[in-house]
Symmetry: D2
Subunit: 339 residues, 4 copies
């Protein structure tokens, strides 16, 4: 941290700042220039609030120079992390990994049909929700454990892995029985109860970026999970809220190369939630891969027009197949391959 004093700051004001920093446990060195005194404070105190110094008399600015995350930073593992999902599927290496499936598991017929389609077309992971709290209390809320069972059976029959969302620590033991990867939704990105619980399990976590979260905040949430001992975190860009309303969210494709530089963790993109409309999913899926994403999360439904939720952003199986063909063309441009 660097504290820049105002040009007219008094000796007393400077000393007060130094005393506060020392009291907080920092090593302090002072540098007096022609117009400003600059105070450097060295040490890692993750909970220190720089605003406490900013408000002291004579202070012009406080600049944080240490990244507040460590385990999630690229420096921690310069070579990058490969997350092993099981059954030979690895995220973060040369292979592009696609997870596909419906927004919600609706019935045995539906999930069996999707699983068969997406497996045949090259997906390695089946996605689907079992718990769907909705804005109206009168509508479909998911099949619960029954949905998890159906998804597991459908996945196993097609040699797929399972990713599904966990919303609350209380659901965790149940979901661990059925899922290979635990998804954290955008609204829970800063649910610290949940993140703490996930730090203690030993299955990979797919952590979605919140709609108004900065990239740094996403990495801080990953750090939270990792500090609990679970290093198998996959990040996921799914769109941020901006003034543009032509798409539901603005998929921040640049977050992919930014995260690749800042962190060693793999990064997925979710163009289904990122755009909210089927006809935009395919171009944005291609864009994410071209920008260097390690994988994709795509909603596919055998009959999107009758889906119980989010049908508008679900691909028809044949659209998904066409997309997979296009991704096979693009992958080599970014040094990737698809199974």
């Amino acid at each position: 941290m660097v504290v820049v004093m105002q040009s007219g700051a008094s000796g007393e004001q400077i000393q007060h700042v130094i005393d506060r920093l020392v009291a907080c446990g920092f090593d302090v060195h002072r540098s007096t220039g022609e117009s400003h005194t600059v105070i450097g404070a060295v040490g890692v105190h993750p909970d220190f609030d720089p605003r406490d110094i900013e408000l002291l008399d004579g202070v012009r600015e406080v600049v944080r120079i240490t990244q507040p995350y460590k385990l999630a930073s690229r420096a921690f593992r310069p070579e990058g992390t490969i997350v092993n999902l099981g059954k030979g599927v690895k995220v973060g290496g040369a292979e592009l990994v696609v997870a596909a499936g419906p927004c919600a598991v609706e019935s045995k017929g539906q999930i069996d049909s999707v699983a068969e389609s997406v497996a045949r077309l090259g997906a390695k992971v089946l996605r689907g929700g079992a718990f769907k709290p909705r804005s109206s209390p009168y509508t479909f809320q998911g099949l619960g454990e029954e949905g998890l069972k159906l998804m597991r059976v459908a996945a196993d029959r097609n040699a797929l892995l399972v990713v599904t969302e966990v919303m609350d620590p209380s659901q965790l033991s149940l979901i661990l029985d059925y899922a290979d990867v635990l998804q954290v939704g955008a609204r829970n990105m800063q649910n610290y109860h949940l993140l703490r619980a996930l730090g203690e399990v030993r299955k990979p976590v797919l952590l979605k970026r919140g709609m108004s979260a900065t990239i740094e905040e996403l990495l801080l949430s990953a750090e939270y999970i990792m500090s609990g001992g679970n290093y198998d975190v996959i990040l996921c860009e799914r769109g941020i809220r901006t003034f543009e309303t032509a798409t539901r969210n603005t998929l921040d494709i640049a977050a992919i190369p930014v995260i690749k530089k800042l962190s060693h963790l793999p990064i997925f993109a979710d163009p289904s939630h990122g755009t909210g409309r089927r006809d935009k999913v395919v171009p944005m899926a291609r864009a994410a891969v071209a920008a260097g994403a390690d994988g994709l999360l795509i909603e596919v439904h055998p009959d999107p027009e009758h889906a119980l939720s989010d049908g508008a952003q679900s691909l028809f199986p044949d659209q998904f197949g066409k997309l997979m063909g296009e991704l096979r063309i693009i992958a080599p441009a970014v040094g990737r391959r698809m199974a």
Copy 2:
């Protein structure tokens, strides 16, 4: 809902849209103009996803014309709602109500001191957090039930009411024993498990706007609580995330008159979280009252420089006193008074 067809839409395409709408339960009337066919669909189907129609062939645009909330709308109670907090304190009427106190309850000495100060200076409600999940697992996480007890005692001694945050349905029965008003934090604005639980209690709820939530989404969350039978909801503007970084968030003061027009529910402002810095809290508190807010939520700490959390945005008691004096001047300009 109004569906505007493309100018070249075929009769078949038009019929397909009509069939879908009828199948969804809408009353449909068709209006054929010179260049466009426009289809009106009447009925309330809260879970209907307009995107399902938007994606049909021949459709140019779908326009929703019914507000998706009803209980929270101004039309439901044109005269406005007055929420009775108890002990004669009413929110939404002529009296401006100020809730003040520390971010977190830290000790008996601290909460007693704050309670005495803010009561003497005109606050009617004591605010304070007992559960503080923080971004670092190693730091102060709140005193839990002990904090609730201390707050209750301090409030009672000074004839104050208590508002405190509930984060999870599992905390609810405990917090109900101590609090007069239940606060929903910005990150939980769309936590439907929690909103449902709050719909079933019979104490007022203070619902904070999420950092990236539109005003409509805030009203939808209020609707969710109200649909459970609890009509005593107080809304709270606390800042949205924008590109400007000079303040932690951008306090959307205009949300106050906007909500006054759209809804009958009272609205508070929280300038402490909305700005993140003590020196901006006072002017923004004045601005919120001048714009018509029914009340304020203000962080006050007897010794902000040593606060265990958010000291930078907490006022010193004498700053709070000065602010209350300024608010007494402003209140008559908006037809309000302070006790």
Copy 3:
């Protein structure tokens, strides 16, 4: 336009709205439902301000259903527009067109070197600025006409076309002598004096999206140029301002497929300004092409570390060459080819 009246609106209020609409020249039809009266107003009155109706007593909402642009809309030319730049280079067809060059023309040596490199590597258009108003009045402001001359000579020698920015109608006749394509910068997207002047010339215009402009506003600015008679407009996505600060702007890649659906005009992307940093330019250029862009605008400099402006976002020639190779792999995935 559809006017939704409040549920309790009086007959008098409804009649007042109808009278105002008729006075404004609309054909009006009224539809009375169980709870609401809805008034449809048909006609195109581009300057009508819907807020004038919104503020009348008894009105709940006014919904515009006609797109405010016509010449720029997809319906105007469903087959899409191909803009002929000259020398056989066509934008909007099967060929992906890349414009490359320095931010500013600095010297004969510099522009000759860049032109030779980018032509050899597959660019068809040379970009470069001759007028560079800068935030400091003491710094390099561009070479002016001398810069235009140098660029023209360098382009001709390498069989390239020239695109350069025009900032003011007063510069137009000069720039027309040297340039093949006239660029409108993001800050001038709504400079109507300039747009009007460009409507009268008969050379293609490359119109950049403003940093806080919606896609609709971009299309309205294109409409403005087209209404003057110049239909050769190429749009360009170059990043919008959002809360995320890890990149200079957020390149809105989804704008590409959105515009493809709404408009017949070709669309470029400018990943150099969209990200502001060299190491992000390459992945975002690939992403834009994968999402369906018709072309790219890329900053290339023979010695970026000593560029007089924007060196940080300029590619080294060999990086540009590598990028072109990657684009050659990606292009067939979107039905494109590169020369």
Copy 4:
């Protein structure tokens, strides 16, 4: 500027950074800590682009510690600036100054009527536009010089000053003949040709914040004018673009106290453009004053329903009168008075 090297940076990389900084004219001092080397660079080089250093090998982060503006900073004139508009009207002192009038001057009758009303109700300055470039080329474009004349006559008859917008340096000499204060519109905030021209005149400038401009960028534009020798700059907050669409823009009221701390320049608010709707103008005007604004810019029209532009955001004269009465109550709360 502080350059933070990566923890594993080599001696060679560090030396390369130092060499570049020295070559750019900075005084450099190096500080080697346990984990990082930190390099301080002292000196003012406004055109230096920190990204050039950020991209060097081994660099983790570059932190700018000098504000890029100087003349506009609070330190330059800690006591604050009072801008004398003439006729005894001073902005930035104890008196709150209100400028009011129509969006556009439409006719002698209109401007005479408004001028008489607003003068009687306490405004000191008449606002009005003579040049109105509009999004449609077929609509009212302002009365031009005739409008300026009418405004001057109406103002003089009522002892008002005149503020009007200048859009282009070519209009300047004409407008200087009629206006007391020159307004720069939000879209021109970074029009450097115009800012340079205004630096050379000796009349006060009212500089509006761009819709997507940060507060720092606003101050940089003020600096640009001041560096030309014209120190009489009044800033004006008029709303920023955010995801919230309930109001046309989000009026950033917090910008007022933020600017008061960063700069010595006075600051106005424009609630008419900041909200876009008449019924929101009054509460936001009160809020701006309560937050510490030095003055207001308010649209008033004798017959808003028939205004040729922006009628929806114009107050009726009696609404303006009521607002002035409310401001008289609020002003003492912020140590102000109204004439």
